[in-house]
């Protein structure tokens, strides 16, 4: 074990187990299987105790041994440890005994769970000597790469579908990132970026840096477990785009069990998609272990990946944890965004509407029993997808600056509500 690898051992193919050095590479040369970071858990166990974790700052980096950097992180030191909110009012509406929201709408610095993965990817990119970082993105990842690259003095290129929400486009441009809009959907952006990544010597966070990048998602699971009082919640509901977050949440829970930080208890990790892009949930409901790619058509653009790279693994996690998946329509997504906002004061983006909407369905159908407890992963902020709810939340009523007009308005309202 050389010191400069930290607690990492190698990159390992998830399909055939072949090992590769810890460089910027993401695919097995033999079967194209994704590479994943392998760790030295025996060493980690000696260092990462509950007491050690609790003595550290409240950020995702308090679990540093389980994140793939060789040395101390240098980008995104304040990311993570977002609130786990007890959602009693929403629980009553959905008819479940106990409900919690893991609220990544307030993650630092760009208000989505992507801050976690980017913090890891850019810290590791620097260790490997890159000065330019890039990504293919449905919006949130672009925002986080742009912001965190700016803070680290790295040059950034972000590639997005050109029809993204205006908020997400401005939220990348403001940081001085080079934003390239591709006339096509995310799967086409992805294909182009795979070709670009092979040609230029950049750190593409979700292409050649993907093994490191994806590990950042585990921090959400560690935080949920710690904030739940060092135990794994019985049910976790996770939105699925590529399916990566869902698989990494399970990996995070498994690692905590392996390290003895939480007791081994039964848990289910359920998946949520939008009906307009539901290759994984359709396959899960049909009992298949493979999916059919689709062309996305949904307001949940951050989840609009028709060829989900981790779809196979997400299906396996749901099967192994006896979990369910479901999907919701655009109208159900908007209703769920409003419901979460009106009951808990949390304004989520469309992906959050997907998670809450699907949780509602799973509770109604008994797949999440009403006397159980569930955590919903709400991964992005509604201020970035205002277009999705514009025209669906009413309008302010305008009056002259006159007390008489206001009293008339109130009287009218009482009549309506009577």
């Amino acid at each position: 074990m050389s010191e400069h690898q930290g607690y990492m051992k190698a990159l390992k193919c998830r399909e055939c187990g072949r090992e590769y050095p810890l460089t910027a590479t993401h695919v097995c040369e033999f079967d194209f299987g994704p590479l994943e970071v392998a760790y030295d858990y025996d060493r980690i166990k000696k260092s990462l105790t509950k007491a050690a974790i609790q003595s550290r700052p409240k950020t995702m980096w308090r679990y540093r041994e389980l994140l793939p950097v060789a040395n101390d992180p240098t980008v995104g030191l304040q990311v993570g440890f977002t609130p786990l909110v007890k959602a009693d009012r929403l629980a009553r509406k959905l008819g479940i005994r106990e409900l919690w929201i893991k609220n990544d709408t307030v993650n630092y610095p760009t208000l989505s769970f992507k801050d976690r993965v980017v913090s890891v990817a850019l810290s590791r990119s620097r260790e490997l000597g890159f000065d330019t970082v890039a990504c293919a993105s449905t919006g949130n990842l672009a925002n986080s790469v742009a912001a965190q690259a700016a803070s680290a003095g790295l040059k950034s290129y972000v590639f997005i579908p050109s029809d993204l929400e205006q908020g997400k486009i401005l939220n990348s441009l403001i940081y001085g990132a080079r934003v390239i809009g591709i006339k096509g959907h995310y799967d086409e952006v992805n294909r182009l970026c795979a070709e670009i990544a092979g040609k230029f010597g950049w750190a593409f966070v979700n292409v050649n840096m993907r093994p490191y990048y994806a590990e950042g998602s585990k921090s959400m699971a560690y935080e949920i477990a710690e904030q739940s009082g060092w135990r794994i919640p019985r049910h976790t509901v996770v939105p699925m785009a590529s399916g990566s977050l869902l698989t990494k949440i399970q990996k995070g829970y498994q690692e905590f069990v392996k390290l003895g930080l939480v007791p081994e208890t039964k848990y289910s990790v359920h998946g949520a998609q939008a009906t307009g892009c539901s290759p994984i949930s359709v396959a899960q409901k049909a009992g298949l272990d493979f999916f059919k790619p689709v062309k996305p058509n949904t307001i949940a653009k951050s989840l609009a990946i028709g060829t989900p790279a981790d779809g196979f693994y997400a299906l396996r996690v749901m099967r192994d944890t006896q979990a369910a998946a479901d999907d919701v329509t655009d109208d159900e997504i908007r209703d769920a965004i409003k419901l979460l906002a009106e009951t808990e004061g949390i304004f989520a983006e469309t992906a959050g509407g997907v998670t809450v909407g699907v949780a509602k369905k799973l509770i109604a159908s008994g797949k999440i029993p009403r006397d159980d407890s569930a955590v919903l992963c709400v991964t992005g902020n509604g201020l970035k997808t205002l277009d999705a709810v514009d025209g669906y939340v009413g309008k302010p009523r305008e009056i002259k600056p006159s007390l008489r007009e206001f009293e008339a308005l109130l009287a009218n309202e009482e009549k309506v509500n009577a």
Binding site: C28, F32, G33, A136, N190, N206, R210
Partner: protein
């Protein structure tokens, strides 16, 4: 009639670092066989023991995923461009 195949980085060791290779095949399946005769070993990287395209390999003809076309039976015409691309994470 030549068609072009874009070789992804992980496979270029087999093609002597050639990025763009010309083939004469009439379908995607035949193109893979033709690549194998010129670059031994490339076929097993792309298809599994049952002869199906591996699940982490995406093949595109003129930027369209062959799973939306006729998979390995997808016909090729003069000037078509085939891309072979590993699956990528979300964003």
């Amino acid at each position: 009639m030549p068609k072009k195949v874009r070789i992804p980085t992980p496979l270029r060791k087999l093609t002597n670092n050639e990025e763009l290779v010309e083939v004469n095949a009439a379908t995607v399946g035949e193109a893979i066989v033709e690549l194998q005769t010129r670059f031994p070993g490339i076929q097993e990287r792309l298809v599994d023991e049952k002869g199906e395209v591996r699940r982490f390999v995406n093949v595109y003809v003129n930027e369209e995923d062959i799973r939306f076309l006729k998979n390995k039976q997808t016909p090729l015409k003069d000037g078509d461009e085939i891309s072979i691309i590993p699956a990528i994470a979300g964003g």
